[in-house]
């Protein structure tokens, strides 16, 4: 079950500031709701986990993150994250290409292209909900990212952003998402079209 997402998020900071932050993998990872780096194997390999709270259910994915490339000229970072949930009933991988595009002096954009693949129970019963789930994760990631970048600056704006960082949910609030699964599970009633693509 594959989902491809192309998203652009505004960041009210200089392209350089954003790019600087983007290269700090641990911090970038911490922008991913519910995600954390648990171990750094070498310069480009990390171990981490992400906890996706889906209503009353919690899906915790453990896995490896690899920095595929860092291109300072393009201000582009390519990350590959692979993992499986602790019950081993589903697995997920995400190939993320994130780059910073300058817009104005203190305005830039975080441009994200991600390919998310999910297999196992979640793909069978919630596959067609991956779209919106991935979108939610990325949107919250972008929020946190922007706030973190700004927070590294100075002045009241930075303080406000820092405050927002502090408040930001540490887990993806997927209260709604459980119903994605539920209805997807129901809505597939007699819909016989192949979704192979």
């Amino acid at each position: 079950m594959k989902v491809t997402l192309d998203k652009t998020y505004p960041v009210s900071a200089s392209a350089n500031a954003a790019w600087e932050f983007l290269q700090d993998i641990k911090s970038v990872a911490s922008c991913m709701p519910g995600a954390e780096i648990t171990e750094q194997s070498d310069g480009t390999h990390f171990k981490g986990m992400i906890k996706v709270k889906i209503g009353p259910a919690v899906a915790a994915f453990k896995g490896d993150i690899e920095v595929k490339s860092i291109d300072a000229n393009k201000r582009e970072l390519i990350l590959l994250g692979k993992g499986s949930d602790t019950k081993g009933s589903s697995s997920a991988s995400m190939l993320l290409t994130a780059s910073i595009r300058e817009v104005a002096n203190h305005q830039c954009e975080l441009v994200g292209h991600s390919e998310v693949t999910v297999n196992g129970k979640m793909a069978s019963f919630g596959g067609r909900m991956m779209d919106s789930i991935s979108e939610r994760i990325l949107a919250q990631f972008a929020d946190n990212f922007a706030n973190n970048v700004i927070a590294r600056g100075e002045g009241s704006v930075a303080d406000a952003a820092a405050a927002r960082v502090a408040e930001a949910p540490k887990e993806l609030n997927g209260l709604a998402i459980v119903w994605h699964f539920i209805t997807d599970f129901f809505n597939k009633l007699f819909s016989r079209e192949s979704k192979q693509s």
Partner: protein, 799 residues
């Protein structure tokens, strides 16, 4: 005449062959007193639940049982490593392959069996499954069989690397299983090269599942003291299963008892031996306690006994008048990750070569290539004989396509190609001898009943104002009743079947069979045969099946075997008893056997009507007053090895209306005429036809076991998998002709599968006929509203 009236009354009392008597099995079912597998409750019984693979193709890096074992109530967790010492981690399949009982280092399909948690309670076993931690290394999966033999295709069965055959001849690729051919390729190709007309179409029989309302399950119960294994299970063929279990376990068959009790529908799903059964049985042997394993519905649809997945290319060569000169069918068969396709040893593609159907086709060649994919294993015969639905679907679709190309009426083109009555016994170009048939009268009767000409007129008018109406015809010939042991065996055991009858002193009787009912009403119909053969009221005949300790050996009930083979054994055994009864009667009446004639329920002295002995009197004498040198008792057993298959046929017409704005299909009318030869119980036959047509409707209109590109199952519960309700299911009209099988003792041929086999192409032919004026020659099943609308929209006809 009084005598006639009197004898008629005696005959009616018997409720024998031809009587639509009520079923003997019903009283327990309508009072909730049936005994299905999950009703079995034994002292000390524990429960097994399976840990299954979330991945279609992956290597198992580690399995951690600790958390599960720590859960109070969990007794043990079994994996392949635990079965290895007993060398039970792999098992033979009915397709001459082997299948992992529990995944051995690798999984080949999503939901494959990886471990079994055994616990004191059902709920605890389910909790335990959640706690078994399995680490996988995912591998690329093959879902599309057309990609199985690609040069760079990942190898699905590493255990077979280097083996150039898996039971059925040479393999062409590590993911190839076998090539099977029939007919004469060269002469077929020659006819095609010089043919006036040829048609060609890609035709898929999609992957579906029989989905009986009761899932599979078993209770293994090993008595350590007696060394006796009793297995209660959902099996259509308990005797074959016992033999397989003996081969697997090393226990003598005399120490294994397989009991089925009542079965909640089978339709082919309950023929194979599944890993869940084996692990539960092994667990019982290891623990010395009864172990119950019951499939969930999701496990049932995902892992046990899928059907079809035949990717066919059909070709016909004909002259301008639509006379078929040659047939060429090539099939790519998706058998999943293990070849557990149910087939007789010599028939890896089942009876697919019956695909010449009801038609006189002088030259033909068929080829089937089977491949492995990362999908569940199976290939069972879903309410049909092995691969007969696939065969009949192809020919009944292709002849419509030919008619369309030549603009010949779809009834007329069938008439022009029917095998004629004087051609029987008819030898087909693919090697079968069809014993009997009378196709044209059947078709004519149906066309008249539905006013075919009127329907075609109406269709023309409707088309004129943009309405979509379709008329489907199917004139199919089936092949059932496997089969002559010279032609058919499974694991070396011939496909005969058996009956043992004992007549008690007071004139009642018990019959024990090698077959196994799953709702077909054997307790009733077999009793009716005995009633007619022996003059014992069917009410007083008890029929027992499904206990290998009691019943004689038989291959079970699948492929419509019960009537062609089982019922023949009943008649033969009964006749052996009647022969002995004649001797006793002669002795009692002090006349020669030749002076006696059989009359309904008694032997009478020819010409001296009041000199007679009833079967009831003879039965008592058999235990008290037999002629010198004769053994006491009145019983017989017969193992019937049929000289040939039987060939039921039928003519069906289906009328559909399609709403072009939504793609919804409404079945307006369905008229089904079946010829199953001698009819034993009309009530039961009609019930079988209703059921078979409904399953055909489900397959044609909605059933599909679907996967995404990574091998994740889409739609494996009844929320997704199409079982029609009362509202969608059409009303069925049934009719019949009677063309007895010349070689069957009763002339009966079997009926349960005809409506499924003949019904599916009839629905498709109707749907496609409704679109034919738009240039459509074929659309694959299932015919969902979405697919039909898309087709119409693409043709600009969805207004």
């Amino acid at each position: 005449m009084a005598a006639t009236a009197e004898s008629l009354e005696r005959k009616d009392k018997l409720e024998g062959i031809g009587c639509a008597r009520k079923r003997k099995e019903d009283p327990r079912f309508i009072q909730g007193k049936g005994t299905y597998i999950d009703d079995i409750k034994l002292p000390g019984m524990v429960y097994g639940a399976l840990v299954r693979s979330p991945h279609a193709h992956a290597r198992i890096k580690s399995i951690n049982k600790e958390k599960a074992l720590a859960l109070p109530g969990v007794i043990t967790v079994l994996t392949a490593d635990d079965l290895k010492p007993l060398s039970l981690h792999w098992m033979p399949t009915l397709g001459s392959d082997v299948q992992a009982v529990l995944a051995d280092e690798k999984v080949g399909f999503q939901m494959q069996e990886v471990a079994m948690v055994i616990a004191e309670e059902r709920y605890i076993a389910a909790d335990g499954v959640e706690l078994v931690e399995v680490e996988y290394e995912e591998l690329p999966a093959i879902v599309d069989p057309h990609k199985s033999m690609d040069a760079d295709a990942p190898i699905i069965r590493e255990d077979l690397v280097g083996k150039d055959e898996v039971g059925h001849g040479k393999r062409l690729h590590d993911n190839h299983i076998f090539t099977w051919e029939a007919g004469d390729k060269d002469s077929t190709d020659a006819v095609f090269d010089s043919a006036e007309v040829t048609v060609k179409e890609e035709i898929l029989n999609p992957r579906v599942h029989p989905c009986p309302l009761e899932t599979c399950g078993c209770v293994g119960s090993f008595d350590k003291v007696k060394g006796q294994l009793t297995v209660y299970m959902t099996s259509q063929n308990p005797h074959l299963v016992r033999t397989v279990l003996a081969m697997l376990s090393g226990l003598p068959e005399s120490k294994i008892r397989v009991v089925t009790n009542d079965i909640g529908g089978g339709f082919g799903n309950k023929v194979p031996v599944y890993p869940g059964y084996v692990v539960a049985i092994v667990a019982s042997i290891v623990l010395g306690r009864p172990v119950k394993w019951i499939e969930s519905r999701i496990e049932n649809i995902s892992t046990t006994g899928f059907a079809r997945d035949y990717h066919g290319i059909g070709e016909l060569a004909a002259d301008k008048n639509g006379r078929i000169k040659a047939l060429r069918f090539n099939v790519l068969a998706d058998h999943g990750a293990f070849n557990s396709h149910v087939s007789a040893t010599k028939w890896p593609a089942g009876l697919f070569s019956i695909c010449t159907g009801s038609y006189d086709i002088p030259t033909a060649h068929v080829r089937v290539d089977a491949v492995y994919t990362n999908k569940a294993p199976g290939g069972v015969a879903y309410r049909c004989s092995l691969r007969v639905t696939e065969a009949v679907y192809l020919i009944e679709r292709m002849i419509d396509i030919l008619a369309q190309k030549l603009d010949i009426d779809k009834a007329e083109i069938r008439r022009r190609n029917f095998v004629q009555p004087d051609q029987f016994p008819y030898n087909t170009s693919l090697g079968w001898t069809v014993d009997s048939g009378n196709y044209e009268p059947a078709l004519d009767k149906v066309l008249k009943a539905v006013d075919y000409e009127g329907l075609r007129k109406e269709q023309a008018e409707k088309r004129a104002n943009g309405e979509l109406m379709g008329i489907g015809i199917s004139t199919f010939t089936e092949i059932v009743g496997a089969g002559p042991t010279k032609a058919c065996d499974i694991l070396g055991i011939g496909l005969f079947d058996s009956c043992e009858i004992r007549v008690n002193p007071t004139g009642s009787a018990i019959a024990r069979m090698g077959t196994q009912t799953q709702g077909q009403g054997h307790e009733t119909t077999y009793a009716q045969i005995i009633a007619t053969e022996l003059g014992i009221p069917s009410e007083q005949v008890q029929v027992e099946e499904g206990d290998t300790d009691k019943a004689p050996y038989g291959a079970g009930t699948w492929g419509s075997r019960s009537t062609p083979v089982g019922a023949a054994a009943v008649a033969k055994a009964a006749r052996k008893i009647r022969d002995k009864a004649r001797k006793i009667a002669a002795h009692l009446l002090e006349v020669s056997e030749d002076d006696l004639e059989w009359d309904i329920d008694q032997f009478k002295v020819k010409g001296v009507p009041d000199q007679a002995r009833t079967m009831k009197e003879i039965a008592m004498a058999a235990y008290s007053n037999v002629p010198d040198g004769m053994e006491n008792g009145l019983e017989a057993v017969d193992y019937y090895d049929p000289p040939n298959f039987t060939f039921p046929f039928g003519a069906y017409v289906c009328v559909v209306d399609i709403d072009p704005k939504t793609g919804e299909i409404k079945v307006r009318r369905f008229y089904a005429l079946d010829d199953c030869g001698t009819r034993i119980n009309d009530m039961i036959i009609d019930g079988q036809v209703h059921g078979g047509l409904t399953e055909a409707f489900a397959v044609a209109m909605g059933q599909l076991v679907d996967f995404d590109e990574d091998g994740n199952l889409l739609g494996n519960s009844l929320m997704d998998y199409f079982l029609p309700t009362t509202v969608e299911t059409p009303h069925w009209e049934t009719d019949y002709t009677v063309t007895p099988s010349p070689h069957h003792p009763l002339g009966a041929k079997g009926v349960a599968e005809s409506p499924h086999v003949g019904g599916i192409p009839c629905f498709s032919n109707a749907v496609i006929d409704a679109l034919s004026h738009l240039g459509v020659t074929h659309v694959d099943m299932p015919h969902t509203a979405h697919r039909i609308w898309k087709k119409l929209h693409e043709l600009g006809a969805s207004k």
